[in-house]
Symmetry: C2
């Protein structure tokens, strides 16, 4: 759903600082993408963002057969704060995980925290790939920031070490939570969502969560949702509540 | 998020009618799945549903090296009406389409209608694959019905031929729609969602929709959503509104 009124310029995330007249060298994968997938011409416009300096218009400069650099022209829009929910979830298989991260970025998450539960089957996750996916989704959806990806951590460490003032809203697949929208309407803007693994949380994990003042159980409806569906549903509902709050 | 209290029995959709003591022959793909993926033993329990006779417990009977049949025992739960939203959408590439259909089924759609718009890139769709995906998702998420998959149709034919009393709620990527939740709260239970292609609707299509009394434009938020994200977001919000309406 690309909007008609956006100038359709490819957006790329870079790590360098951005200022007028600066030249940046594209990474090998960016150069490949621009030259061999998009087949951009020397001098084509491109938009760059780095999470802190806003979005900049630049000019693509191609050199040799494979390289590519960007000559920065002017700032296209200023950096905006992009607050959003934190997402804590039990990882799933790689392909569905890629998709999940993409959707989470589009739905505005600020931080992604993979959580190890007793029934999580995935033992290791590829954080580099997770991050690359988050970058690509941020480029595509017009965000000015890329969510922070945290290290894979045990649920007990996450919950017992909860230092933030954020409410931790978790999907209770036993149906004993409050309907999600009901809870969301009472939540402060800063919220974190925790969605369990395909096999559900274990009783001990639910007990751990129920014992915390900052944790709130929600119910996501009558059907058995895959965990990635539950994540997307929670984030979509939350985004819907936020849209509803902002003046139209 | 499999619930603990469900007896974790594999569910399969069949087309035959279901009654006690009847024996059904598994399809080749069901037999392969049971014998070579799940490695079920002769006599294992299984649950069957066909969209009209409720859900039945059966016993798997293995014969020879590859075949499989089901001996029906008793009805496990009666057939329930599963009303839900209709989904109309401009198809996307196959892998993301598979995922989209799966999510749509989990989020309760009753009917899936692929719609051809001016900017839809996908010219043909594999309805058999679409249906297989819908069946698999229905089996997994505990539904008693599989959504109807309609033929790929031009948007003008769909909109001009709109015969149902359903409200047609469409995602307006120009931001001129009402916030989704706002609209949803006013909607009757019977609703249809229309989400456009990656490039957005063309002006003529928006004009067509705006001219219809039964159509209502919604806004799904500030970011540029991929069309599959927009579909999931609309369905998740709708499901959230329905959950919120039902007594807790």
């Amino acid at each position: 759903m690309q909007s008609d009124n956006d100038q359709a310029v490819t957006r790329l995330f870079v790590v360098e600082s951005l200022k007028a007249q600066k030249t940046l060298r594209a990474s090998a994968s960016q150069a490949h993408y621009l030259r061999h997938v998009l087949r951009v011409q020397d001098g084509s416009p491109i938009a760059l963002f780095n999470g802190t300096d806003g979005e900049w218009l630049a000019k693509v400069e191609t050199t040799g057969r494979v390289n590519c650099s960007f000559l920065l022209k002017q700032r296209r829009c200023p950096q905006a704060e992009e607050r959003g929910p934190w997402l804590l979830f039990a990882p799933i298989k790689q392909l569905r995980l890629d998709y999940l991260v993409q959707k989470a970025v589009e739905l505005g998450v600020e931080q992604i925290q993979p959580v190890r539960t007793r029934r999580t089957i995935v033992r290791e996750i590829n954080v580099v790939r997770l991050n690359a996916n988050a970058v690509e989704a941020a480029e595509q959806c017009g965000r000015l920031t890329v969510p922070k990806i945290c290290a894979y951590t045990d649920i007990a460490d996450v919950v017992d070490g909860w230092q933030t003032g954020r409410m931790l809203v978790w999907g209770d697949e036993t149906g004993r939570g409050e309907p999600a929208l009901h809870t969301f309407r009472k939540c402060d803007r800063d919220v974190a969502f925790l969605i369990g693994p395909e096999g559900g949380f274990e009783d001990s994990e639910r007990t751990l969560l129920r014992g915390k003042q900052f944790a709130r159980a929600i119910d996501l409806g009558p059907r058995v949702l895959r965990s990635d569906t539950a994540v997307i549903m929670a984030l979509a509902l939350w985004q819907g509540v936020l849209n509803d709050r902002s003046p139209t």
